[in-house]
């Protein structure tokens, strides 16, 4: 991609600002707006202020998981352990807080620590043992799944079926300053993650490692530390999404994390992040998460059957990839 811009003599200002990577992010948001317009045509009221806010709120769960996924994909990795780390965090929160607001803080901290620990183990396995990311995180998903099922006896333990503390439920379903609180939290995460990626040394190191581990290492970047940190962050974000979902739904259920593996990867990809690492931004992922959720909502508004949803999902992903995910010809 960079070769095409470099070969042009003195690119104009606009062209530098709108480089291909940034253009992909804009395409993502344009696609989201387009889907809102289609939704409004299919079902009037779809794109009303409250309708939009509702869809953005649902997008936030995918968006939070996909923040971690963006981090690891930016260094050419992938996190397949997202579903059960999310699920286990929700179970820990519910069982530890036991429905009381007083214990909510402890529950949240323990859930986040769990996510962080899973992510660190993922990172260490990949960095120190040299296990491919696909295998390590796939194994971790099984490990966390088995522990969640086994320790809670299939979610039949005393504390597992308690409702989420009312404070959390109120926070996740309520409004602050006229905007849904869960949406505000996501906006906060978007600002922080984007700032980290664009304006910090750590952010530059992520892109450096994603482009070439070897060159980054020779340039003095602690590649192993960066990688482990990113997997830890992915675990942390998965756990955070688990907490948010437990509050939003009012309880923890088995398999609640399953849809988020496919959706988080799809959101990252639709947002224009290169799957082999080094290029992309969380803002693109945000657009991807909104596109995915709006797409489902449009299909639901058309009361399309489940199988049509799966097919449309796949076709849209392939279409978007064909539009701007193609690699340069090497022949």
């Amino acid at each position: 991609m960079s070769a095409t811009t470099e070969s042009q003599p003195a690119p104009s200002g606009l062209r530098t600002i709108l480089n291909p990577d940034r253009r992909k992010i804009i395409y993502g948001f344009v696609a989201a707006i387009g889907l809102f317009i289609i939704g409004e045509i299919v079902k009037p009221g779809f794109a009303s202020a409250s309708g939009i806010q509702q869809i953005l709120e649902i997008s936030s769960f995918v968006g939070i998981v996909a923040a971690g996924q963006t981090f690891v994909i930016l260094v050419g990795g992938i996190d397949l352990s997202v579903p059960w780390v999310l699920n286990a965090a929700a179970i820990v929160l519910i069982s530890q807080s036991a429905g009381s607001n007083g214990k909510l803080a402890i529950g949240i901290v323990l859930a986040l620590v769990l996510g962080l620990a899973c992510g660190i183990v993922n990172g260490l396995g990949i960095v120190l043992l040299g296990i491919p990311a696909v295998v390590m995180t796939l194994g971790m998903n099984g490990i966390v799944e088995g522990l969640s099922l086994g320790v809670t006896h299939g979610l039949s333990c005393g504390g597992c079926l308690k409702p989420a503390p009312t404070a959390l439920v109120n926070a996740m379903t309520g409004k602050t300053l006229g905007i849904d609180t869960s949406l505000l939290i996501w906006i906060g995460i978007i600002i922080v993650v984007s700032f980290v990626l664009s304006f910090t040394t750590f952010g530059r190191r992520i892109y450096a490692v994603g482009n070439s581990e070897r060159v980054s290492f020779l340039a003095g970047v602690n590649v192993k530390l960066v990688t482990v940190t990113l997997y830890a962050l992915s675990g942390l974000f998965a756990a955070a999404a688990g907490i948010a979902l437990a509050g939003f739904g009012g309880s923890a259920t088995l398999g609640m994390g399953d849809p988020y593996l496919f959706q988080s990867i799809a959101a990252v990809v639709i947002g224009g992040t290169y799957i082999l690492g080094g290029r992309g931004h969380y803002l693109g992922t945000v657009a991807g998460a909104i596109v995915l959720t709006t797409l489902i909502s449009v299909l639901l508004a058309k009361s399309a059957p489940d199988y049509a949803r799966d097919i449309v999902y796949g076709v849209v992903i392939l279409a978007i990839l064909l539009l701007y995910g193609r690699q340069r010809s090497e022949a």
């Binding site: 040299g130 199988y307 995910g325 193609r326």
Partner: protein, 338 residues
């Protein structure tokens, strides 16, 4: 891998060359040996646990049960191997198994002619799905993981459309012929698969697949038809996935449009346990078959070890990480010693 050493022949076969060649063969096949050893170890553990807990040795019925249960994973893992050897990955295998599983449960009964015709048709549909993957990857120049993620979703949808709720059945005669529940006749299919692999690997297509996985640009420069080879690899993987779906419907004697989903990830696990490198160009389909049997035996071992079935995913995940971690460390050790 004899083919790859051909150009060296001009240099003459000095003693050093023979030693280097021997070392190369050893290094090439080390993962396969590890996979075989793992299979033997798992078999021994299984037999010991079985005889201790039941007081008798496992017989023909157990052998048939294990082989039949391993069959879908064997076929899926073999397909996955072909794609992974080209440095790709096929996430759509589970979705294709959904499709063929649903079709098999709906169509595979009502006389020999109908059953034979639909078996061929289902396999062709699988090959067609794989062809779609291959064309998008090779000619569309898209990343395999993303293409197959997209087609996985499409195949899942198609399967749900074919069979909205679990049901259907496979004719008893069909089951007895392919996966006889009483005698381990299905071992014949495993041997045939192994032999087919040996033939494929020595064929032009097989050599090209390995070449692409090792270095795509070098392969292209040596006039390997990269695009065509990739398309064929994905199409064959789709065909094998369809076979796996039929085998799944046959062992469970019924259809479920979501039963194949888990095979996407378990086929990758089997391939990796079988010593195939996820970075392409290294490994063997025979290893993947070993990996499929190891993972199938693991379930039985956990059962006879009296492990709470709820903890099963925990031990499976742990086994995967430990097996791959250990063999990676072993591989590093061997390389360092050389």
């Amino acid at each position: 891998m004899l083919e790859r050493a051909e150009p060296l022949r001009g240099l003459g076969r000095s003693a050093g060359w023979v030693a280097a060649r021997r070392q190369q063969i050893a290094a090439q096949n080390a993962p396969l040996v590890v996979a075989g050893a793992l299979l033997v170890a798992m078999l021994v553990i299984y037999i010991v646990l079985y005889s201790v807990s039941l007081g008798s040795f496992p017989g023909a019925f157990e052998a048939a049960s294990i082989t039949n249960h391993a069959m879908p994973l064997c076929l899926a893992a073999l397909g996955q191997t072909l794609v992974i050897l080209t440095r790709g990955i096929d996430l759509s295998i589970g979705g294709m198994m959904d499709v063929s599983n649903s079709l098999a449960a709906l169509k595979l009964h009502g006389g020999f002619g109908v059953e034979a015709l639909w078996t061929v048709l289902i396999l062709l549909i699988g090959a067609g799905g794989g062809l779609l993957n291959g064309v998008l990857v090779a000619f569309g120049r898209l990343q395999p993981i993303l293409v197959t993620l997209g087609t996985f979703s499409i195949f899942q949808g198609v399967a749900l459309w074919i069979l909205p709720s679990p049901g259907g059945h496979v004719a008893g005669g069909y089951t007895n012929f392919f996966l006889d529940p009483k005698a381990p006749s299905a071992l014949v299919w495993v041997v045939i698969l192994g032999l087919a692999w040996a033939v494929l690997r020595r064929s032009r297509l097989g050599v090209n697949i390995y070449a692409i996985g090792n270095d795509e640009n070098a392969a292209r420069a040596n006039s390997v038809p990269v695009l065509r080879t990739k398309v064929l690899a994905y199409a064959l993987a789709g065909l094998l996935a369809a076979g796996a779906g039929i085998a799944l419907a046959t062992t469970t004697t019924g259809g479920d449009a979501t039963a194949g989903d888990v095979f996407t990830l378990s086929s990758i696990a089997a391939v990796v346990v079988g010593g195939v490198s996820l970075f392409g160009g290294r490994g063997s389909g025979v290893g993947a078959l070993c990996g499929a049997f190891v993972l199938t035996l693991l379930v039985d071992v956990l059962f006879f070890a009296n492990i709470d079935p709820l903890f099963q995913p925990f031990y499976q995940g742990l086994f995967l990480v430990v097996a791959v971690g250990a063999s990676t460390l072993l591989g590093r050790h061997l390389v360092r010693r050389r």
